[in-house]
């Protein structure tokens, strides 16, 4: 209780400070209620909590660049309602404490909407911070069901959920006529969510059985214990639901232990580093459940070229979702003709058929995508391509 009080007090103080500063800078240009005075001047700030350090540091720049690309496009066309958009990025480090601090910073910086969120475990604590500050969130990457289970009105997922990903995984297992499956997660919210949902889905199917469920600790090098345990019951299929660093090591160690059947990874492992770490030979034929990417969408190469031109590197995981999150944010604010939280949320709920990478957008009542748009990728050479 006291903590919460302090939090409110801190927010109030921060808000008062921010108002004071803007009042000075504005030089009496603005008048009327405090809310509208802040609304109508200067650029509209979009906040993003993304990892630029820590174990998932590789992802941060991908997300930031994706969002930047959309913002530049929108600004070139005159912005939203005559105001330019501005991106404010804070490092979440894929760590709950750091992410919560980053979210508070964004609240203090008076962002209108949030378009960030990568690791589910680190995104969870930011939800209530943004909710209290009445900031609508479009989460581009984090996709644990835990996020929507909070039932917060300001939270929207631009990525498919764990349930949708698990369904895609089980569909692939059935397609391959698999009998026994080993599931491995890294004990994080995102990863555990997918394995739990996959195990539930498998349970309702008589021809399929989960023979082993392992959890590993992220950040270690030796997973021989988990590998040996998973292989004890000779599974036909292995599904790893964590991130690429451990994923690469696991693939390598499974292959070294003589396992030559199918290994599949979840979208957190979709990064070419996975292939580097596993070794090119070991990674061949590894499958992945992934939402659609520009590489797999007709006409997507044009987008990739544009991205490459601006940032001098290839887009990575969640560049597209971040790009889309910004575009959806702009669309919602344009539709709402306002930057007020309630109106934006209404506008988001009413969006129907807006074209984003994963198909025409319409949010479900739970604020998730109507279709997850998950598809199966396969490792060929040094790339992950669409499995045909």
């Amino acid at each position: 209780m006291t903590l919460r009080k302090v939090g409110f007090g801190g927010l109030a103080l921060a808000a008062a400070l921010a108002l004071g500063v803007s009042g000075c800078g504005g030089g009496g240009l603005t008048s009327g209620s405090d809310k509208s005075s802040d609304d109508s001047a200067g650029p509209i700030k979009l906040g993003m909590v993304a990892p630029t350090s820590g174990s998932s540091a590789a992802i941060g720049p991908y997300m930031k660049n994706g969002a930047k690309l959309a913002i530049d496009e929108i600004n070139k066309k005159g912005g939203v309602d005559g105001r330019k958009l501005k991106l404010v990025v804070e490092d979440g480090a894929c760590d709950p404490k750091t992410a919560a601090a980053a979210a508070s910073k964004l609240v203090t910086a008076k962002v209108t909407m949030s378009v960030g969120g990568y690791c589910s475990g680190a995104t969870l604590p930011t939800l209530s911070i943004f909710n209290k500050a009445k900031i609508p969130m479009l989460i581009p990457a984090a996709n644990s069901n835990d996020l929507v289970d909070q039932k917060l009105p300001n939270v929207f997922l631009v990525n498919g959920t764990g349930t949708q990903q698990a369904a895609a995984a089980v569909k692939q297992m059935k397609k391959q006529g698999v009998k026994s499956v080993a599931l491995i997660d890294d004990n994080t919210s995102y990863s555990k969510d997918i394995t739990t949902k996959t195990a539930e889905d498998v349970k309702s199917d008589k021809s399929l059985k989960v023979v082993s469920k392992q959890s590993v600790t992220a950040g270690e090098s030796d997973y021989s214990a988990a590998v040996t345990a998973a292989l004890k019951n000779h599974p036909d299929f292995i599904y790893w639901t964590g991130y690429y660093q451990e994923g690469g090591l696991l693939i390598k160690q499974f292959r070294q232990a003589g396992y030559n059947k199918t290994i599949m990874v979840a979208d957190g492992s979709v990064d070419t580093k996975l292939i580097d770490i596993a070794g090119k030979k070991n990674a061949q034929g590894v499958l992945a459940t992934m939402t659609q990417t520009p590489q797999t969408i007709p006409g997507g190469d044009k987008w990739v070229a544009k991205y490459k031109k601006q940032f001098n590197s290839d887009p990575g995981p969640y560049s597209t979702q971040s790009y889309d999150a910004v575009r959806i944010a702009a669309k919602a604010m344009t539709d709402a003709k306002s930057t007020q939280s309630d109106k934006i949320i209404d506008a988001l709920e009413n969006i129907d058929g807006f074209k984003i990478f994963s198909g025409p957008l319409k949010f479900t009542p739970q604020h998730t995508l109507t279709s997850g748009g998950f598809e199966i990728l396969i490792v060929k050479g040094t790339k992950l391509v669409l499995d045909s």
């Binding site: 630029t52 350090s53 820590g54 174990s55 540091a57 590789a58 004990n187 469920k213 392992q214 959890s215 590993v216 600790t217 950040g219 270690e220 090098s221 030796d222 997973y223 021989s224 214990a225 988990a226 040996t228 345990a229 004890k232 660093q245 690469g248 090591l249 390598k252 070294q256 232990a257 003589g258 580093k273 580097d276 770490i277 596993a278 070794g279």
Partner: protein, 301 residues
């Protein structure tokens, strides 16, 4: 049966890494009673030194991914990490010698962070993939699988350990080390250059950790700036189990911890691996705080 043999092999392999790192922990503690918490990061430094040598000088070494290249790189990295250990001792620990133990312990933790984030600044926070990935030929041993590389690495670890044991038992510096661990003040009166011997200890301990780092990098293929943290804790556990301050105990503790983890996870599930390892540490500290081979220390007044 196959499964059991596999568990033993897994345990021995991981244990040999723990043992190599635990040696430095134990030696430093034995001589100046300091828990060098930056030691795990020296292991990480070794992995990155090897990475740098292979990246910038890979061509000069023939660029091959043979074990010989690895051994050459390992020796170079050992010299580098050994020197890093010397600098660490000179900069962070020597000025504080004689200060309360807590002060030095906190310095060690600080040194650990400095090393970790220093490397993160230099090499970036992303994990790096080792430029040399050893090709592995698998052999079957009593129904279990092990690669030739694993066997060679275990052999290298054993050679290094035997070498260290010989240094401590047979050489003048080794004798000096043992003497200082008994009574540093008396050694000073006897004309032993205590500072030099302590430096020497740091050099050897850090070189061994560096060797383990290069081997881990080449074998697992992935290195990152936080890789030393967990292995540092595990090596500390191994050193305590074996009796901290005792060199042979550190080896025994490392191998034992590897085996314990291997079997513990087989019966409890892999999410229990660290719980099991550190639970064992707590059990040892309560039941036999001196460890397996440690001697009971009587405080002399």
């Amino acid at each position: 049966m196959d499964h059991l043999v596999q568990l033993v092999l897994n345990g021995l392999f991981v244990g040999s890494f723990y043992a190599l790192v635990a040696l430095g922990y134990s030696m430093v503690y034995g001589i100046i009673k300091l828990l060098n918490f930056a030691h795990g990061d020296i292991y990480m430094l070794g992995a990155f030194a090897g990475f740098a040598i292979l990246t910038f000088g890979g061509g000069a070494l023939g660029g091959g991914s043979s074990l010989l290249t690895l051994v050459i790189v390992m020796i170079m990295a050992m010299v580098l990490t050994g020197s890093a250990g010397l600098v660490l001792e000179r900069v962070a620990y020597r000025p504080l010698r004689g200060s309360p133990r807590l002060t030095v312990l906190i310095t060690a933790v600080g040194a650990s962070f400095a090393l970790e984030y220093g490397i993160a600044l230099w090499a970036g926070p992303n994990p790096e993939v080792y430029p040399v990935q050893l090709k592995s030929t698998t052999v079957h041993l009593l129904g279990a699988r092990i690669t030739i590389n694993q066997l060679v690495m275990m052999a290298i670890a054993v050679v290094l350990m035997i070498g260290l044991d010989l240094i401590i038992a047979k050489t003048r510096s080794g004798r000096a080390m043992r003497a200082i661990s008994q009574d540093p003040k008396a050694c000073l009166y006897m004309g032993i250059n205590v500072d030099r011997v302590i430096s020497y200890t740091f050099f050897i301990g850090s070189a061994l950790a560096g060797a383990a780092g290069v081997m881990a990098g080449a074998y697992y293929g992935k290195i990152d700036f936080l890789m030393g943290f967990i292995i540092g804790l595990k090596a500390f556990t191994a050193a305590v189990i074996g009796g901290i301050g005792n060199v042979r105990g550190a080896v025994l503790g490392g191998v034992l911890l590897g085996l314990l983890e291997s079997f513990g996870t087989a019966f409890l599930g892999s999410e229990w691996r660290d719980v099991f390892a550190f639970g064992f540490l707590i059990a040892f500290l309560t039941v036999k705080p001196t460890g397996l081979l440690g001697e009971k220390v009587t405080e002399r007044v």
